[in-house]
């Protein structure tokens, strides 16, 4: 069953999750139609968009991705009608200003490529520490899917056991060896060791020294976000031509706004608007909503019908709840000697052991990182602000660019049903509800920040020999959206089962960050990708059974 408006598997969203499911289904001989709200733009055009962004917007990773009117996303610093797309409220509203991209290829266009797996303990928070939730399965269950996800994306990582995370024997080596540290990261690693913590090389979906999947090795352009100009970093955009070569069909500028159920509570169709605001209906056997933790619950809530008055897949009333991220605190340092960040990718290492410990019964664990982005823009702006001109300005730009460093803390957060996405009364260009989000990082994070991470950060700053430092006082977003269609075995308090299948609708799958039960303090993508692999197996099996 495959024509313009039908396929075995309908995938909504063309990000990393949609692409993994699509390719797995195609490899199993199924027909696939992918629907993408945003446009499809060539990489070189995005590169030029980025290079032409005025300096004051260069730190806004969404600026090179001008949104289409029908697929708005946050473009925070630009004065534009679409800047108020996300309606944010609550004590930490600023910390949920998530910069995802509604473009074919999704937000991996501007991810850092970091692939920390969860630690086994992260999956048993209730049992071990009496807080949060336990996952419906253990780490061992997820391990083979992690391996497959790492090979699908092309992850490079250390072969030395003592540098691997989590600290368990790997069941399969990384597809590629690790990237070396730049000077800044090396210096940070040494400072961390003196403070008594270990800075590990981060596993990352980036080609180290060799090509992978026809994509070239990293050459250190150091603008992984907002775009890898040469596709050395995995992004889902690089998977789209391969999906098409396998017979998958990709329809961009197709904004899915309704999931239609039938009387047996199967999904019968999805409906989308094209840019002419005409509605189209697409039928299939399996439906996969892969729009991550904001757009997926938004779509489900918008799709309420007589049988599902709270929205599709929402008998539990958990759709849109339990929103998580990793509340971030940033610090900027000025050192007396050059730090030389900017050699290699924008991120390449982290102190992640600080996410584990018995303290987690009282407060959150966290990851600490020295950003490896070149700080010439920050250095340049700081030098200009001093009113210097001529050679003095040049010298100061060079000094500040070399001697500035940025450190980051990313805290784990507990799932809290009050952290919730609902439908705003405000409408977008198509007349669809904008997402409204209430967000409070909670005392678990605040205690961690006060008693644990801030003191450690200050030690690191001192150890690096900073002559000046500014530590942010506001939590910000990490772009790791999770939890809003939470996984569990009890249909009464969770949205999806162990395979990311809706408890309420047997042919509806919601893989990705929304399904994650806990997030730990590492980046969410590789866990999302592993869940997508697991869901794919289940989808293929379900269609084989007929």
């Amino acid at each position: 069953m495959a024509n313009d408006f039908s396929a075995d598997v309908i995938v909504v969203g063309t990000g990393v999750i949609g692409c993994i499911v699509a390719e797995q289904a195609l490899d199993a001989g199924l027909s696939v139609l992918m629907l993408e709200a945003g446009p499809r733009v060539e990489r070189w055009q995005i590169v030029e968009n980025f290079r032409n962004v005025p300096p004051q917007y260069k730190q806004n990773w969404n600026a090179p991705y001008p949104p289409k009117p029908w697929a708005p996303h946050i473009e925070s610093e630009l004065a534009d009608a679409t800047t108020d797309y996300l309606q944010l409220e609550g004590p930490n509203a600023r910390a949920y200003r998530q910069g995802y991209v509604r473009y074919a290829g999704g937000a991996t266009w501007h991810w850092a490529g970091i692939c920390w797996r969860l630690h086994p303990d992260d999956m048993q928070m209730k049992t071990l520490y009496g807080v949060g939730r336990d996952w419906a399965f253990d780490y061992k269950t997820l391990d083979p899917y992690y391996n497959r996800a790492e090979y699908a994306l092309g992850v490079c990582g250390p072969s030395e056991v003592e540098l691997q995370w989590p600290p368990l024997p790997r069941s399969k080596p990384y597809p590629m060896g690790r990237l070396p540290f730049g000077q800044g990261e090396q210096r940070f690693t040494e400072a961390a060791a003196r403070v008594g913590v270990t800075n590990l090389p981060a596993p990352q979906a980036r080609n180290s020294g060799v090509s992978y999947d026809g994509r070239p090795p990293c050459c250190g352009n150091n603008n992984c976000f907002p775009v890898c100009p040469i596709s050395a970093k995995y992004d889902a955009a690089s998977a789209l031509p391969r999906i098409e070569s396998k017979g998958g069909r990709i329809r961009e500028n197709a904004v899915v706004y309704r999931v239609e159920t039938d009387e047996k509570q199967n999904i019968a169709a999805v409906h989308y608007f094209n840019p002419d605001k005409q509605s189209q209906r697409v039928v299939g056997r399996i439906f996969v909503i892969a729009c991550n933790a904001i757009e997926t619950p938004k779509l489900l809530l918008m799709s309420k019908d007589e049988r599902n008055p709270n929205g599709v897949a929402n008998r539990s009333d958990q759709v849109g709840r339990n929103l998580m991220d990793q509340p971030k605190i940033s610090a900027q340092l000025l050192l007396s000697e050059p730090m030389w960040t900017g050699i290699g990718p924008v991120q390449g290492s982290s102190i992640i052991m600080t996410g584990q410990g018995d303290f987690r019964s009282k407060h959150a664990g966290a990851l600490l990182r020295c950003e490896n982005a070149a700080l010439s823009a920050a250095g340049g702006q700081a030098a200009l602000a001093k009113g210097l001109v001529g050679k003095a300005l040049d010298t100061e730009i060079r000094r500040l660019s070399a001697c500035t460093a940025r450190l980051t803390i990313e805290h784990e957060i507990l799932s809290d049903p009050n952290n919730r996405l609902t439908l705003s009364d405000k409408k977008d260009w198509l007349g669809l509800s904008k997402p409204n989000i209430y967000y409070d990082v909670g005392d678990y994070v605040r205690r961690s920040h006060r008693d644990y991470t801030l003191p450690l950060l200050k030690k690191l700053i001192a150890e690096l020999g900073a002559v000046e430092s500014t530590i942010a006082t506001t939590f910000t977003n990490s772009d790791h959206m999770m939890g809003s269609c939470i996984m569990g075995t009890d249909p009464g308090n969770s949205v999806v089962d162990v395979d990311c299948r809706s408890h309420d609708h047997p042919n509806l799958f919601l893989p990705g960050g929304a399904a994650m039960t806990t997030g730990g303090c590492g980046n969410s993508t590789i866990t999302m990708a592993a869940l997508a692999m697991k869901a794919s197996d289940s989808i293929v099996e379900q269609l084989r059974r007929g």
Binding site: R43, W44, N52, G209, G214, C219, N221, P229, P241
Partner: protein, 469 residues
Amino acid sequence: MHNIMRLIGIVICLAYASSNAFATDDIQEAVMRGAYMATASDCIACHTSAGGKPFAGGLPIASPVGTIYSSNITPSAAGIGRYTEDQFARALRAGIRADGANLYPAMPYTAYQLLTDADIHDLYMYFQHGVTAVDTVPEQTALPFPMNIRLSMKLWNLLFLGHTSKKADPTKSADWNRGRYLVDGAAHCSTCHTPRGFMMEELPGQYLGGAQVGPWFAPNITSDIDSGIGSWSKAELVTYLETGNLAGKAQAAGSMAEAIEHSFSHLTAQDISAIATYIKTVPPQHTASDHQSRFSYGKPYSALASLRGANPIRSDTDVEAGGAQLFDGNCASCHQARGQGSKDSYFPALFHNSATGLANHSNLIATILYGVNRTTPQGQVFMPGFGGKVNNVNVLNDEQIATLANYVIDQYGRGDTPVKSEDVAQIRAGGPTSPLLLLARMGIAIAAIVGVVCIAFLIVAWRRRAVNK
């Protein structure tokens, strides 16, 4: 009981093995020498398909008269497992298969006919005993009429296949003679680098003077200063053959990258030196329009100052990108803003570069379309293509590639003849096609027409005679 039987078995085996130790050693040594000759002859490049088993064939080779598929040369029934050494030698030297059918000269038997009996023997031992048998039959070559008549090759061989091996030249050093033997025999350099005549035969008068090979152009490698590589030192030639990368001059791509990867980078330093010694003495072939060497064009240049600022290009406007924008978005991230490449020359400079300095733009276009993938003992060098293959970083159309190529040759190379989008389309389609096919068919058609006219004339004449009688 079983154990005792097993023990007896082992003892018998050991006794047998030791009695054959000498023979086995001889075979092993021949196999090892044969493996080296197979490397020098670069058999694997053509006889292995992408992702396929070694020597199992099936690689499509674009030729001006159609696609030729390489054969399985593993020691299996589907391969050459049943070949006697004589049959093997006849295939290599005369281009005749064991079943008597002729090979197409995509198989360089015109070069391999120079191989010594000893080298042929070693090659035979290697392909019979050193290669893993693969029992798959690759896709069969089906050239269009009249090229599908393999018998026509008999006439071709009669005209163009030499039958005498070149005698060593006593006035030259052993090094030079070894170099000539490798260049003209195993390495079959002239197969690509010597222009071919109307019948696809190598033109001896233009030996190594440069020729089109599918989408790529195998340039002039004679000692001419302007048209050839006369400006290279012997040491530079050695570096190029060992690594495929001579900074500030040339980088190997396409089938030359394959030759470096599979063959030259694995030869002994002595043999590479011999090849370089001989190549340096090849008589110059000069093209009148060449006034400076292809390695001397261009200089660093950046158009960035004109790109940024008031009216920057954005993907959400419909502005057509010019060469400078295409260069910045697609090339500059690796080759750098001024085209200067990287300091370690992993990313070569685009000026002082054979691909941009040639009058023939095939290599520039083919590199943009197909990229570069070359692995040597020093590691992999990889450039993605932009021609629309799966996983290409960007996909550019013929018009865009022509615009980009013209920017590159104008700033960094030899820009006297612009690249047209038709040129890109031709390289994208696999390179220029030969008029031979059309002419052969026209010839047959004309012969047929002439035949019909003759018969008609005879009939008319016969009738007239009958009427006159």
